[in-house]
C-alpha cells in the first residue's frame, strides 16, 4: 500500500467521522425536546396563532394562514410584491380557492 492510499483512507475515515459526530451532536442538542414541544403546544392552544414570527413587516406575511385577499391590495392593487419577504413566503393557498382569484 503506497502512501497516497494511506492518506486517502485516513481522509475518508476522518471526513466520515466528522460528519457522524456533527450529526449526532446537532441531533442531541438541537432536536426539539419534549418540554419544548409541550410549551409550543400550550402556547398554540392558548393563543391560537402558529405562524412563525420570522417576518413581521406585513400582516399577510406574519399571520399568513389567516390573511385575506384584500390585504394584498392594501399597498395598491398592482404592488403585490412590496415586501422582499413575500418573495420567500408565499401567501396562503386557501386564498385562491374562491371563484374570483388573484393571479399568483
Amino acid at each position: 500500500m503506497t502512501q497516497i492510499s494511506r492518506i486517502f483512507i485516513f481522509i475518508s475515515f476522518m471526513s466520515l467521522l466528522v460528519l457522524t459526530c456533527e450529526y449526532f451532536y446537532v441531533r442531541t442538542t438541537r432536536t426539539l425536546t419534549q418540554s419544548a414541544l409541550e410549551k409550543k403546544a400550550l402556547f398554540t392552544s392558548s393563543v391560537g396563532l402558529t405562524d412563525l414570527s420570522l417576518v413581521t413587516e406585513a400582516r399577510y406575511a406574519r399571520h399568513r394562514s389567516l390573511s385575506d385577499v384584500f390585504s394584498f391590495f392594501a399597498e395598491g392593487p398592482e404592488l403585490l410584491e412590496y415586501f422582499p419577504s413575500t418573495f420567500v413566503y408565499h401567501h396562503a393557498p386557501l386564498l385562491n380557492t374562491a371563484p374570483t382569484q388573484i393571479a399568483p
Binding site: 450529526y23 410549551k39 409550543k40 402556547f43 413587516e57 400582516r59 420567500v88 408565499h90
Partner: protein, 395 residues
Amino acid sequence: MNRMFNFSLIEYALLSITKRGSKNIFIFFILTLLIFLLSSVLMISDAIKYELQTTVSHLPEITLQRLQAGKQVNIPVQRLDELLSIEGVQTAIPRVWGYYYFKAAGVNFSLVGIDAYEDQYKTSLQNIVDEHNMSALEKNNAMLIGSGVQKVLQENYYQDFFNFVTFDGKWQKVFIQGTFHSDLSLEANDIILISKTLAHSIFGMPETEVTDIVLKIANLREISTIITKINNLYPDMRAITKDDIRVSYQNIFDYKSGFFLTLFMVSAFTFFIIIYDKASGLSSEEKKEVGVLKALGWSIDDILKERFYESFILSLFAFILGITFSIGYVFILDAPLLRDIFIGYSQLKPSFHLPFYLNFGMVAILFFLSVPVYVAAVIIPSWRASTLDADEVMR
C-alpha cells in the same frame, strides 16, 4: 487478484487526481459550494416547515372570519350564541387580536387579547412564561411579552411597563408581567398577550365586536357539515379549518415567486459550466495519456473504471464536505447571511434557532443530482477517447 475491485486502479486514480491538482481543486471547490448552498437553503426551509407542523395539531378546528367587500372585518359578538347552538360545536371562543405599530422603533407587534386570564389559561401560561408569578396577571393592566418585544422595549427605555397609544391618542400604561420562554422564540417573538378588555380599549374596538371566532369541534367528521351550516346561517363568514392551515404550511415557500428558483438557477448554471467544460473534449495531454495506457495494454474497461474511481472519489468527497458544512452552518452557526432571506428586514428579528430536522429524501435527491451527473460528465468523453486506436490518439 479480484477482477471486480482492483486496488491498483484506485491508487492510479488517486495519483491522477493529485497530478491535475489545480484543476481538480477548482472543481472540488465549486461542487462543494454548490452542494453546500443548495442543501443549506433546503435544510432551513425544511426546518421551518417542521417547526410549523409540530404545532398545527393544537390549533382550534375552525377559525371564522367575517368578510365585508372582500376585506376582513370584525364580527358582532352576538353571533356567538347562534354558533354555539349548532350541534357538534364544543366551544366557541371569540378572539381579539391585531397589529400594534410601535413608531419609535418602527416595528409591528402582534397584540393578542385573551379572556382575562381564566383558570384554563392560567395553568397553561404558567408553564410557558419565565416568571412564575401569575397572580399579578389578574390585574387588568399587565401583559406577557415575547423576547423580541422585550428587547425592543428595553432599547427604548421601557423596563417594567409600556405606554400604548390608544386609538384616541391617550396613553395606556401596561406593566410587563413576564416574557415567554426562549423555546418559544420562533412563535412568540413579537407577541404581546394582554387581557381582552385591554385589547378592546387599545384598538378602539367596541366591546360588542371581536376579530375572529375559533370553534372547537369534538367529532372531526362533522367539520364539513358544521361549515355548511355556518355558511347558510352567515354567508359573509369564511371558515378556515385546521386542514387548510396544514395545507398552507406545505406551500409556505412559493417556488414560482422566485428566490429559491433564482438560487437554484445560479447554482445549476455553475454546475452546467463545469459539465460543459468537461464534456467539450479532453485536453491533448489527457488524450495522450489514454493512448499511452492503451499502448501499455490497458483495456477500455480498465480506463473507464479508473476514470470512474477518479470522478466518484472527487464528487463524493465534495458531497460529504458540502453536507457537513451546511449542517454546521444551519444548525450550529444559525445560518448567518442566508437567514436574512428568511427573516425579513424588520428590526424585530427572532433568534434564528431552528430545530434540527434532516430530510433524508432531500439529501438523496441532492446526491443523485450531483455525484452521478459529474461522474457521467467525466466518463463519457474518456469513453469516446478510449475507443479510438492508441496510435491515432497519441499522434
